[in-house]
């Protein structure tokens, strides 16, 4: 047994009082969880402390909270580990972020998380009459979606999402991971409509800043951001959906610039992005010109500070070995299908074990092939 100090955020809407911190100690064996600590206090000292929980085994996804500022499942976090990371001695437990608090550690999942899940049409939309028995799909076609299927809907990623912090309308990591579960499913017949919908929404796939916060906190290894990146690959590289948010344009601009010069020619990123990848369109299309004009103040600031010169904006050096970069680019881009190493199922490989070429040498790479016509 050891004594652990906890500092819990309390809030009771019926009391009319503001939220406050409550500090208490619990005696527990160090291998027990933060949830055990809270439940012990609730059981022995104050039954009014509110927390949602059920399975206590990281399966039901009910007990999402913030522990020392980090979103996590209370049942899945050892109380001794949390105590080690506690800044001022006490383990700080708060309700999850980005969702309204109902009471103490309970947030309104309906108002945010479940509403967003509904938004992405989270069911299969097959076409034609259903088969007499079950749908049969090749096993390897499901490799790609197994990771998003591991989600237990705990909302830790929603709580941690840094885009949602400034844009509450962002569809967000959990719902977009769920969207990929159906986009990547070969039985679904509305792949392109789903992608177009999520690409055109100003709060859709292009509202994610790749901050990795959702990947860091997910207790199930779903890596929601990686699913958002998969959605982007399908939307841009495969389906070439030219969205109104410049998502397609930005990606095309970037990749084309690297094909041409090898390093980033920054001054061309904006016009090309606004022109759906085309430099000419970016400077002539009225919508693109309007967006360029909106960036004018930044350009003026950059020129005035001397960090950008007109010469640098116009000219960009090609790499000495640019033909190598170009050859690699065309070798890969000319393939009919994209190749992806699925880290969710590889993971164990020979990473960190040093050289063990012998064992791995004859193994096929665990790559998923993702084609446009899936």
């Amino acid at each position: 047994m050891a004594e652990f100090a906890l500092k819990v955020r309390r809030y009771d809407p019926e009391s009319g009082e503001a939220a406050y911190w409550e500090e208490f100690d619990v005696d527990l064996p160090p291998e027990r969880s933060v949830l055990d600590g809270i439940l012990k206090y609730k059981d022995e000292e104050d039954a009014s402390l509110a927390i949602r929980c059920s399975c206590r085994a990281a399966i039901c996804g009910s007990c999402g909270v913030k522990i020392n500022g980090q979103s996590a499942l209370a049942c899945n976090t050892r109380i001794s580990d949390a105590a080690e990371k506690a800044k001022d001695g006490a383990i700080v437990v708060e309700p999850m972020g980005n969702m309204p608090v109902l009471k103490d550690l309970i947030v309104d999942m309906d108002a945010v998380h479940w509403k967003k899940i509904q938004r992405v049409v989270p069911w299969l939309l097959p076409e034609g009459d259903p088969p007499e028995r079950e749908y049969i799909v090749p096993a390897e076609s499901m490799i790609d979606v197994t990771q998003s299927m591991a989600c237990i809907q705990c909302g830790a990623c929603v709580s941690a999402c840094l885009s949602m912090e400034v844009d509450p309308d962002f569809i967000g990591p959990a719902a977009l991971a769920k969207a990929y579960r159906f986009v990547g499913d070969p039985r679904d017949a509305h792949t392109e409509e789903r992608l177009a919908d999520l690409a055109e929404d100003p709060h859709g796939i292009y509202d994610c800043t790749h901050c990795f916060a959702c990947i860091e906190v997910c207790p199930k290894g779903v890596d929601p951001m990686n699913q958002i990146m998969r959605l982007r690959r399908h939307a841009t590289a495969d389906h070439e959906i030219k969205d109104g948010n410049n998502g397609y344009g930005h990606e095309k601009a970037f990749v084309d610039i690297i094909e041409k010069w090898g390093t980033l020619h920054e001054a061309q990123v904006l016009p090309r992005s606004y022109g759906e990848g085309s430099m000419l369109k970016g400077q002539t299309d009225p919508k693109a010109v309007k967006q360029l004009a909106g960036s004018l103040s930044t350009v003026v600031h950059a020129l005035r500070s001397g960090k950008v010169t007109p010469r640098k904006a116009l000219l960009h050096h090609k790499l000495p070995d640019q033909d190598q970069v170009r050859r690699i680019y065309h070798e890969i881009e000319s393939k009919d299908e994209r190749l992806e190493l699925n880290m969710y199922i590889v993971g164990e490989g020979d990473a960190g074990l040093g050289e063990d070429e012998g064992e791995q040498a004859d193994k096929e790479p665990a790559m998923g092939e993702t084609g446009a016509d899936q």
Partner: protein, 300 residues
């Protein structure tokens, strides 16, 4: 210490003061930097969302070029985004030898190959400074302790998350290094909400409001915590926090006007270099007040 050096695109593009200040700081810390002038863009997360095999091959090419630099301890970068984007590719290349062979096949015509020997590394200058140069050596080289300067650290997502990919198992304090360095050079680290958050830069062309509200909020938090300036090891963060700061101010509806230093600039000041040599006149938000403070220190 000899290193293969990848400066990245932005440090030679829109933030030339970063590349320049690193060049001034390197000899002061006995670093011999062999610039990888034939290496390509890391992809900055964007090529990865286009085609993983392409971004893995391009970065394998960079790693292979770095491994050819004779006598180099490893590869150094000066950009959080390069670090994260390259670590992501390295993770995939190291995880599966069959995949690695496949990717190396794309480099074969030029006789290049990325070798996974478990010992080779690619580190941001911040990590290298703490882990391989050491804070004791840094302290011994300080000519101008920055006493009284309050510095808010801004790491950049790509050197903060995901911790499993970024070596935090071996180096659990990587998320504290900026504070440790700021203290080592005599300045005062400022604690504020934004230190590990996102600058918003990756969506600046797609959702300006989401992008600049993030930048603006972190700058405002740093100001409210009484910071004289911010410091960042990421030039892309610098673009949103400095170059876009006047616009960000509109999105958070308040005055900002707080200077943002590149990490090597801050080190350079402590090592006795002059603000002008470090390109501190090439910022959108003027660094005058920081310069004045530093000048007063020299006089005192």
């Amino acid at each position: 210490m000899k290193l293969a050096y990848w400066p990245g695109c932005v440090s030679r593009g829109f933030t030339p003061e970063l590349h320049g200040s690193m060049a001034k700081v390197a000899p002061k810390l006995d670093l011999e930097l062999v610039e990888l002038d034939r290496a390509n863009c890391c992809g900055a997360g964007v090529i990865a969302e286009h085609n993983q095999e392409l971004v893995d091959s391009l970065n394998a090419r960079t790693f292979a070029l770095a491994q050819q630099v004779e006598g180099a301890m490893g590869m150094m970068n000066i950009c959080s985004t390069c670090q994260g984007a390259q670590s992501e590719c390295q993770e995939r290349l190291d995880a599966d030898s069959a995949y690695r062979r496949h990717v190396n096949g794309h480099l074969e015509p030029e006789g290049l190959s990325y070798e996974h020997d478990g010992a080779w590394w690619n580190k941001n200058f911040l990590w290298l400074l703490v882990e391989d140069i050491g804070l004791d050596k840094l302290r011994s080289r300080v000519e101008r302790p920055l006493h009284g300067l309050k510095v808010a650290p801004f790491y950049g997502c790509y050197v903060v998350r995901p911790t499993t990919r970024l070596g935090y198992d071996h180096y659990p304090e990587r998320g504290q290094y900026l504070e440790m360095v700021i203290s080592a050079i005599g300045a005062e680290p400022v604690d504020y909400a934004g230190r590990h958050k996102c600058c918003g830069f990756p969506v600046i062309t797609m959702n300006k409001a989401t992008s600049l509200r993030q930048a603006g909020r972190h700058l405002a938090d740093a100001i409210d915590a009484d910071a004289d300036c911010l410091v960042t090891p990421c030039p892309l963060c610098h673009l949103n926090l400095d170059m876009q700061q006047p616009d960000a101010s509109k999105y958070v509806e308040r005055d900002l006007n707080v200077p943002v230093l590149h990490f090597p600039q801050l080190i350079g000041l402590a090592l006795g270099l002059e603000p002008k040599e470090l390109g501190m006149d090439k910022h959108v938000v003027k660094t005058r007040d920081v310069q004045r403070k530093v000048a007063d220190l020299a006089a005192a």
